[in-house]
Amino acid sequence: MAQKVLMKGNEAMAEAAMRAGCRFFFGYPITPQTEVAAYMAKNMPKVGGTYLQAESEVAAINMVYGAAAAGARVMTSSSSPGISLKSEGISYMAGADLPGVIINVQRGGPGLGSIQPSQADYWQATKATGHGDFQIVVYAPSTVQEMADYAFAAFDTADKYRVPVMIMADGLLGQMMEPVVLPEPKAAGDLPEKPWATCGHGMARPHNVVNSLYLTAEDLDALNRERYERYAVIKENEQEAECYRTEDADIVLVAYGASARIARSAVNAARDAGIKAGLVRPITLWPFPERAVGAQVDGAKAFLVVEMSMGQMVEDVRLVVEGRVPVEFYGRAGGVIPTPDEVLAAIVALNEKVGE
């Protein structure tokens, strides 16, 4: 078995990305994601890759666009305000069907907000990463091990569907260290062919064009429809979630990322107090794991969604539950991390409310 090492979440994502064949990183410093860029700056040259600190987030994401168009595995990372700046470029990537990986180590918002951990960018990641009709795949790891695993897998998903993929972390996961077993590095020959890429070919074929501008409305309509057929396949194939103690659960918590760790502790405390609580932990935020959440509706008396925000994912849970049982929310905003005791109190209150 490969050796366990102690790493920060930010560093584990960077290392795993390089092992997945990422050879270009363009970024701009911002707390609490800076270790991703620092790790890349130190280590990317050792594998013959390119690390570049751009002059801004806008520049960085457009460099990602360029490298992706040339067929490279490429990544950028930032934290909440920086992701807003990148959103134009992400929309362009989606419009040009370019694969690439974007890390968001979320911090409190809106505006410059705080530098403390937060999950207030759920809507941005899943509904509106930029203008226009598009989605990106969003992974929400909950441990340093998953940060490595999904940073690694994200490149395959991106290439497979030709979509941008986001790793949705937060300051807690980015800054903490846990033991991690890193994925085995991919050989250059294991990476997928990209016949659409705009790389040199010695005039062996017609030019490839990578573009997101279509002035004929009907052409753009058709292209959007084709893209949404791809999204339907992603929705069918890529939903991921973990269920914990849900078999007989009356109160089903739904939480992702850092808040899922806290929710899990609260579920155990509730069980110790005689309340049948369980947790569904979305691992993909888009596509939202409708099947895993939906499977709990029949057995549950109520849902409790826990987020480090004012309540965003709770809307997707309500869309799945369709009013059949109550869906309540507990959250802390601005960078405050909820405690297991606070979440337990919310479980106890909800359990009393929905009764025997």
């Binding site: 102690l6 707390t31 705080s114 807690l172 800054q175 033991p179 806290i262 502790s265 405690t339």
Partner: protein, 178 residues
């Protein structure tokens, strides 16, 4: 296996509280336990209470933030004052009395003061007060085996600085025998 360790290490920036936490976390890694290490990275870094939370457990760890420690290493007065009342009953507080003039007691909590910084300076180990205090915490709680503690030190000290490794080992011994 042994009891969970939920530890906070706190001090001024530069006193090595994050490094000390990493040593403890690495000791847990050596024993293949569940481990988490979480630094403060917000404004408290400037207030003299730069700190990290370390958990060693046999169960998956929920929040890596330790709010109810059973062990506290306090490297300065503001950290001692801030975290003393978070320590649970039966917990252990190891404090550098060379840096913390006002050491208070709490019923049900074992507060152990040693002048770690001064001891280090006298032994020619300037800057290793944090490691001395780990030695004392280990001697008091036995949070890992001696082999794991030694392996952790060897793993965390950069291989390029062999002289540092010897000094760190000496500092651990100072703490254990204090």
């Amino acid at each position: 296996m042994s009891q969970d360790l939920k530890c906070v290490v706190a001090g001024f920036g530069g006193q090595g509280s994050l490094f000390a936490g990493k040593v403890i976390a690495t000791a847990g890694l050596m024993e293949d336990r569940e481990v988490s290490w979480m630094p403060s990275y917000g404004p408290e870094m400037r207030g003299g209470t730069a700190n990290c939370s370390v958990t060693l457990s046999d169960e998956p760890i929920g929040s890596p933030l330790v709010l109810d420690p059973n062990a506290l290493i306090a490297l300065n007065q503001p950290s001692f004052d801030k975290f003393l009342d978070t320590v649970v009953e039966g917990g252990v507080v190891v404090v550098d009395t060379a840096m913390v003039p006002n050491v208070e007691e709490r019923p049900g909590i074992e507060v152990i003061g040693i002048p770690a910084t001064k001891m280090c300076e006298e032994a020619g180990l300037k800057g290793l007060g944090n490691i001395v205090l780990i030695g004392k915490l280990w001697a008091t709680t036995g949070f890992c085996t001696r082999e794991s503690l030694d392996a952790a030190i060897a793993s965390v000290v950069p291989a390029s600085k062999p002289e540092k490794l010897a000094q760190n080992r000496q500092a651990i011994e100072l703490g254990i025998n204090a």
